[in-house]
């Protein structure tokens, strides 16, 4: 299914099948709608959320962390994250288990919490990335790539196998980052991805999408591999990177 429909369904908390009627709508329009929906949901109840964020300053970080996990849950934590002091947010995040943080990440709008996300210790980010990979939550992984420092992205991607990396690249929020993300990886990784795709037709669409977003330098490294691909994939790949 179109990744933008999956992401919109996630934002609305509905089954993606329900939004099947969006299949023929231009992807960029579905993306615009998702951004409007996200803004609307984050701005709803803003006054109450701001008061809660303010009140959290009165409490020790361990108490805030306990309330976050036991009472607020991932959705409300994600709504408040962009409203709390950065240092306080980081301090609380460090006290929460990766499983919980992964659930918060799934609800978070990375644009609103960049200051916190980029200051969370690398070990915590990697633990969360590992948890998300275990859940096969490629959408959440893909949403964060554009908001993390290169070194964090590189280490996080190292945790993904070829299937995980292809599926994450397919749902990246900013497809212009695909070529840059691949530049962070060893040169051997791209051929590995292409070969993995050859063996699994369900990876063809993500792979062709990835190829479409490569720069000329990396396209040139793929061309010698085309002969190894099944005929149909080879023809489509050739047309994509011609």
């Amino acid at each position: 299914m179109n990744p933008e429909i999956l992401k919109l369904a996630r934002a609305l908390g509905v089954d993606p099948e329900r939004l099947g009627y969006l299949a023929d709508v231009d992807e960029s329009d579905v993306r615009l709608l998702r951004e409007q929906v996200t803004t609307t949901l984050f701005d709803a109840n803003l006054v109450v959320l701001e008061r809660m964020a303010l009140a959290s300053r009165l409490l020790p970080a361990p108490v805030v962390a306990k309330i976050a996990e036991k009472v607020f849950g991932p959705l409300l934590c994600a709504r408040i994250a962009g409203l709390v002091d950065v240092s306080r947010g980081v301090d609380v995040a460090k006290r929460l288990p990766p499983k919980f943080l992964a659930s918060v990440a799934a609800e978070l709008d990375p644009r609103r919490a960049t200051a916190i996300i980029t200051r969370v210790p690398l070990s915590t980010v990697l633990a969360v990335a590992s948890e998300l990979a275990g859940r096969e939550d490629w959408i959440t992984l893909g949403r964060f790539v554009g908001h993390l420092p290169d070194e964090t992205v590189r280490r996080s991607i190292d945790l993904l196998d070829d299937v995980g990396l292809l599926r994450t690249a397919y749902v990246l929020d900013d497809k212009n980052r695909v070529d840059h993300v691949l530049s962070l990886l060893p040169a051997s990784r791209l051929p590995e991805l292409v070969r993995a795709a050859a063996a699994d037709p369900s990876l063809w669409e993500p792979t062709l999408d990835l190829l479409a977003h490569l720069g000329e330098t990396r396209r040139a490294t793929v061309r010698p591999l085309l002969g190894e691909l099944p005929e149909e994939l080879r023809a489509r790949a050739q047309a994509t990177i011609k």
Binding site: A11, L32, T40, R51, G73
Partner: protein, 69 residues
Amino acid sequence: MAERTLAEQLGGPLPAGIEALPEEHRQDLAAALGDARHRQAKALAQAGEEALKYVPALLRGAVRKAVGL
């Protein structure tokens, strides 16, 4: 009370491809967004009171005041 349309809830014009959808599909999107907002407001109302149980007694008054409970 009539349900708010999708554009009303979003507070602005819809992307062209969404505006061009049949009315029933725009209504479905409006309903899904309305439900999401309702769930969020409900969760927030419940969390406010529940969270106070974890606040040390000495700070409870100040926190109540800050939150406006």
